[in-house]
């Protein structure tokens, strides 16, 4: 007799955190259904969610550890792989090891990797792809409102009567957030989108499209703030009671000239007025922003202007408002919360002597590292030993040619993953990880929502959950006493003790669909839907206006490289496609890249729709097919970055300096060249 089981868990494919049910037939995954009782997805999933975890059974799954011998990866036992790693790592100098982790891992996996890095290798060299998407959001929002998280609850977006979408194509990249915007719009909300392209979000969900010149959003928002002030629409009560620094902001805005801003942004003053007035006169105005804003050298400034505008109009501390960064990964919030970054221990506790001391007592471990560690690309460039868990920099990092050269010189590259990714191909040791359907754990999605991942099937072959691999390795390196965890729940109990925001959350309390949103200070607390209701996260509890001028991109187009390249994502794939390109229905939809170019550029270059084209930057070149479309402006080119045959990040390169060190993925200068039909 057939046994049918429904296992509720969370989709691994983006930060929305949609509930899904894995349907098991006789113990094997037979299908995926949306979870009807889930407060975020409400029984709806996108195509990625409807195929979630079907890649678990792919033939390409890593099933054993592998060691590279004579240029080839050969299967070996766990002991062999881990003994060798233990030996090499013990010989490594302090700070010679870099740990690159991932938002695809659970909170438990991540908590252990930072514990390992800090106790065993005594280093704060920990970083992850949040460097590549919200390393600008964090300092910007810390300086204004005191916390770099999404302050609104996803379901409450429906309550907004004005939504401003900045640099995000939510209909394709966060469909279940788009669903909330659609509901708001049905109730009469005005939707304004700033994007250099006419994306599906622009065409299908937007009332006012600000087709902005790439990277100039800070100028636009400063201009809108000037208009709001001039029109007397600032919320003076809110400004007085809950903020500081208004005078400096006003003084700066008074220096601005709207005509200048028109020239910089390409947005007519009338449109700026329309947007500004709609935003400022709404009861609940909600700003959502993503990589189109954050992945710029001037990202910090731009995000500060967004926070300024929300504060100016009193749009914080109530449902359906705020300035909301959208974390990309399913555990995109968790991989900040767990302190797997060079400047924070778990729970956003700054790396310094005091914090190191506190964790030393908590963990009963001596001599913990007290100085900030290296960031992602610094580790790629400088660390002779790299431990990469769940990340794929060979596709996601900027300037891939340089990365490949750097990898050739490494002492040891360890990659722990579920597939032989492009990065794993370059590894000396590959450790086979269990995927999210094969282990228990928790993940934290965009709106601080901690949810339970439930194990549905056993790991394939000899694959092990990431946290178990780390425990075994720690044991071999003499640190077993700090890693004596038998279950993921035991790890979570330790997490709760040192991450104040998680203190009131338990596995038992996480049984309900939709999990619990942090901060949750104690077990009686229901979790927090809306942040900053009474106080901001700053030391004085007030929000701080920051006058933030527009900053030009690092690599403007010139005669040699006259086009502006921007990169982005599609509906059917997630990030480097390690999961989605191995999912049949998604790969069948689209498996190859394309370059969007305008009809004008097509005419000027003679490149017709569908023809092969070479894109070249100062760092390298790629070949793909042109897609001629009026949805992009002349002088601009769009490339999705999901496909290894056309690595968009061969072209990208320059990064901002501290504090963000954000690679400017959204703005590179390139040439485009027709490929002659005889193959030249």
């Amino acid at each position: 007799m057939n046994a049918i089981e429904h296992i509720p868990t969370v989709c691994p494919c983006c930060g929305c955190g949609c509930g899904i049910e894995l349907v098991l037939k006789n113990g094997e995954i037979a299908g995926v259904e949306p979870l009807k009782s889930h407060p975020v997805c409400k029984g709806k999933n996108c195509l990625k969610g409807k195929n979630a975890y079907l890649y678990a059974n792919s033939e390409e799954r890593l099933t054993t550890p592998l060691i590279k011998k004579n240029g080839k990866h050969e299967a070996c036992s766990w002991d062999e792989a881990l003994d060798w790693i233990a030996q090499k790592l013990s010989e490594a100098d302090r700070d010679a090891v870099g740990f690159i982790n991932s938002g695809k891992c659970t909170n438990e996996d991540l908590y252990l990797i930072q514990k390992f890095a800090r106790i065993v290798c005594k280093t704060n060299n920990l970083d992850n792809a949040s460097r590549f998407c919200h390393s600008t959001s964090v300092p910007a929002l810390l300086s204004t409102v005191g916390a770099g998280v999404m302050p609104t609850s996803t379901p409450s977006i429906e309550k907004a009567d004005c939504v401003l979408i900045m640099g995000a194509n939510i209909q394709e990249t966060y469909p279940l957030l788009a669903q909330k915007v659609i509901i708001a719009r049905t109730k009469g909300a005005k939707i304004i989108t700033a994007d250099l392209r006419r994306t599906p979000t622009v065409k299908n969900l937007t009332d006012l499209h600000l087709q902005i010149h790439p990277g100039t959003d800070a100028a636009l928002i400063n201009g809108m703030m000037k208009i709001i002030l001039d029109q007397g629409l600032a919320n003076t009560d809110f400004i007085e009671k809950r903020t500081s620094g208004f005078d400096e902001l006003k003084a700066y805005l008074d220096t601005l000239d709207l005509q200048e801003i028109e020239k910089i942004t390409g947005i007519k003053t009338e449109q700026m007025k329309d947007a500004a007035l709609s935003y400022a006169s709404a009861h609940n105005a909600c700003i959502m922003f993503n990589a189109g804003i954050a992945q710029h050298a001037g990202g910090v400034e731009t995000i500060q202007t967004l926070a300024d505008m929300a504060l100016l109009t009193g749009n914080y501390g109530k449902p359906g408002s705020g300035v909301n960064p959208l974390r990309g990964h399913s555990n995109g919030e968790g991989f900040g919360d767990m302190g797997t970054v060079p400047v924070f221990y778990p729970g956003f506790q700054k790396v310094n002597e005091e914090t190191a001391g506190r964790f030393a007592s908590m963990w009963d471990a001596a001599d913990l590292p007290a100085k900030p560690g290296l960031t992602y690309m610094e580790m790629v460039e400088k660390c002779p030993f790299l431990y990469i868990m769940g990340a794929n920099p060979a596709m996601s990092a900027p300037d891939i040619n340089a990365l490949r050269k750097a990898f050739e010189k490494k002492e040891l590259v360890i990659v722990q993953d579920i597939f032989m990714t492009e990065t794993a191909q370059m590894a000396d040791v590959v450790l086979a990880g269990a995927c999210g359907a094969e282990k228990d754990g928790t993940q934290t999605g965009v709106d601080r929502r901690v949810q339970r991942l439930r194990k549905a099937i056993a790991p394939v072959g000899d694959a092990l959950p990431d946290w178990q691999i780390l425990c075994r390795l720690a044991e071999k390196m003499g640190a077993g006493e700090h890693f004596a965890f038998k279950t993921s729940e035991e790890i979570f109990e330790e997490i709760r003790n040192c991450v104040p925001q998680y203190r009131g959350i338990t596995y038992e309390r996480l049984e309900q669909a939709g999990g619990i949103q942090w901060p949750c200070p104690d077990e009686g607390h229901p979790g927090t839907e809306t942040m900053f209701v009474e106080k901001f996260g700053t030391p004085d509890g007030l929000a701080h206006f920051q006058a933030a001028p527009y900053k030009a991109p690092l690599e403007p187009p010139d005669d040699a490289y006259p086009y502006i390249l921007t990169t982005g994502r599609l509906n059917f794939h997630f990030h480097t496609g390690s999961m989605t390109r191995r999912t049949e229905r998604l790969q069948n939809e689209i498996s190859e890249a394309f370059a969007e170019i305008s009809p004008q550029d097509s005419e000027n270059t003679g490149i017709a729709d569908g023809e092969e084209v070479i894109l070249r930057s100062r760092r390298g070149e790629v070949k793909t097919r042109a897609r001629v479309t009026p949805d992009i402006k002349a002088g601009q080119v769009f490339l999705p970055w999901h496909f290894p045959q056309c690595l968009a990040n061969i072209l990208t390169g320059p990064s901002a300096g501290p504090p963000s060190r954000m690679p400017e993925f959204k703005f590179s200068a390139i040439q485009i060249e027709k490929v002659e039909s005889d193959g030249k």
């Binding site: 007799m1 057939n2 046994a3 049918i4 429904h6 509720p8 349907v23 037939k25 037979a30 299908g31 949306p34 009807k36 009782s37 889930h38 407060p39 997805c41 409400k42 029984g43 709806k44 999933n45 996108c46 195509l47 969610g49 409807k50 209909q171 394709e172 469909p175 279940l176 788009a178 669903q179 659609i182 509901i183 049905t186 599906p200 065409k203 299908n204 969900l205 049984e511 309900q512 669909a513 599609l570 509906n571 059917f572 229905r585 069948n588 939809e589 689209i590």
Partner: protein, 410 residues
């Protein structure tokens, strides 16, 4: 048994208390399993004791049947998909399935297409006055009723009211219309549905006509229905009394009223569309459909869709892959495949992340097709679906002239 209208209840006090209305369905299913009249029971269970979170459950142990007791208005599941997709259409197992009228109708439609084996299904139809989406219901209990949703022990719809029972035994009620004014409405398809009593199942069970007695009013609709109820009565699992005229009348009255409301609503919807010109109607639908992100949620949720090699998938070469929204043919193909047999279950609209009012589209079209072909989906297993059937009469029509009168294409 010659009669087919009964009041029934379990003589076992425990089972009586667990189910709604005397635990008759629970007792019947348990008896069917105990006597191996079916290999399994497919019913609905609460997950974590929540009335808003239902899981379809396949039961083979009679002792576990009681875990599924109680009708759930706040967790409308797609029972048909489990059988169709995960249990091979019940081709080689006998299953008793508790089903709403829309589920039962879908089973009939699939049986016509040889996608489920009707003989292997014992369809335990449950009367339905309508359901709410779980997240809507949860918010309604919290905000309109002012109660903690976790305290909900039961709910029912009667005489235009929603009556809830809390764990402490107390009840609260509100007018359905008042709830609508506050923004809490049943699922759209339920509002227009006139199939309140599932006579296309083997039995139809409900509480209309029990006149407050702790009993289920059962209408036996097939020989199989008689067979199962006879067995239950003979085994002492069920006590059955022929329904009195008063009970029958009361039931008829309630059904008529509910059906009239639904028909009025349906009429209203269709009139609204008839007021649009063709261009306006097209604009309305294209506007909604342009939001489609090709999640296939509608197709996956549709109980009628069954093709293993779906024509909408890109490898079939008809709808180009990778486009958002997909070519409009995506929508039109699904419509042309399914519209004649849409049973108005609403699962497509529930599944759509872009809030496209799909059941409105399908039901309006289905209504027109139903009139043209005199076809009622999911009622008569011997009535073949019109769009996939050619009649003798149709075969003898001269080739239709497809060029229009005013066309200059001649």
């Amino acid at each position: 048994m010659e009669n087919n209208l009964y009041l029934a209840w379990s003589p076992d006090a425990t089972i009586q208390g667990m189910g709604s209305s005397g635990g008759a369905v629970t007792a019947l299913l348990r008896c069917a399993l105990e006597n191996q009249m079916v290999d399994a029971v497919l019913a609905v269970k609460k997950r974590n004791n929540s009335r808003f979170d239902a899981v379809p459950t396949l039961i083979t142990d009679p002792e576990l049947v009681h875990e599924t007791a109680g009708a759930m208005h706040f967790a409308p599941l797609n029972m048909v998909k489990i059988i169709k997709e995960y249990l091979d259409g019940a081709m080689d197992m006998r299953v008793a399935v508790t089903c709403k009228p829309c589920d039962a109708r879908a089973f009939i439609e699939l049986a016509k297409r040889n996608q489920v084996r009707r003989e292997n299904l014992f369809l335990v139809g449950l009367n339905c006055s309508g359901t709410y989406l779980p997240t809507v219901a949860e918010q309604m209990i919290r905000e309109a009723f002012g109660e903690n949703p976790q305290d909900l022990a039961g709910e029912e719809v009667d005489e235009g009211k929603l009556i809830i029972t809390l764990k402490d035994g107390s009840t609260k009620e509100k007018d359905l219309e008042e709830l609508v004014r506050q923004g809490y409405e049943m699922r759209e398809n339920c509002l227009r549905c006139s199939y309140k009593v599932p006579r296309m199942a083997d039995i139809a069970c409900g509480k209309w006509g029990n006149n407050g007695k702790s009993a289920t009013f059962i209408e036996i609709c097939s020989p199989k229905g008689h067979e199962f109820l006879d067995a239950a009565a003979q085994n002492g699992a069920l006590v059955m009394e022929p329904a009195t005229n008063e009970q029958i009348e009361k039931r008829k009255q309630k059904e008529t009223e509910a059906v009239e409301n639904a028909q009025a609503r349906e009429k209203q919807e269709i009139e609204a569309f008839k007021r649009y010109s063709s261009e306006e109607r097209l604009k309305y639908w294209l506007g909604h459909l342009s939001r489609c992100i090709k999640c296939f949620g509608c197709r996956d949720a549709c109980p009628i869709c069954f093709c293993k090699e779906c024509y909408l998938e890109p490898y079939r070469g008809c709808i180009p892959g990778g486009e958002t929204p997909p070519d409009i043919m995506f929508q039109l193909i699904r419509l042309s495949h399914v519209a004649d047999s849409c049973v108005n279950c609403g699962q497509c609209q529930d599944a759509c992340p872009m809030e496209i009012p799909l059941t409105r589209l399908y039901s309006v079209l289905n209504r027109e097709l139903a009139d043209i072909f005199d076809y009622k989906p999911g009622v008569d297993i011997d009535q073949p679906p019109p769009l996939t059937t050619v009649t003798e009469q149709e075969l003898s029509i001269d080739a239709p002239d497809i060029i229009g009168e005013n066309s200059s294409d001649r």
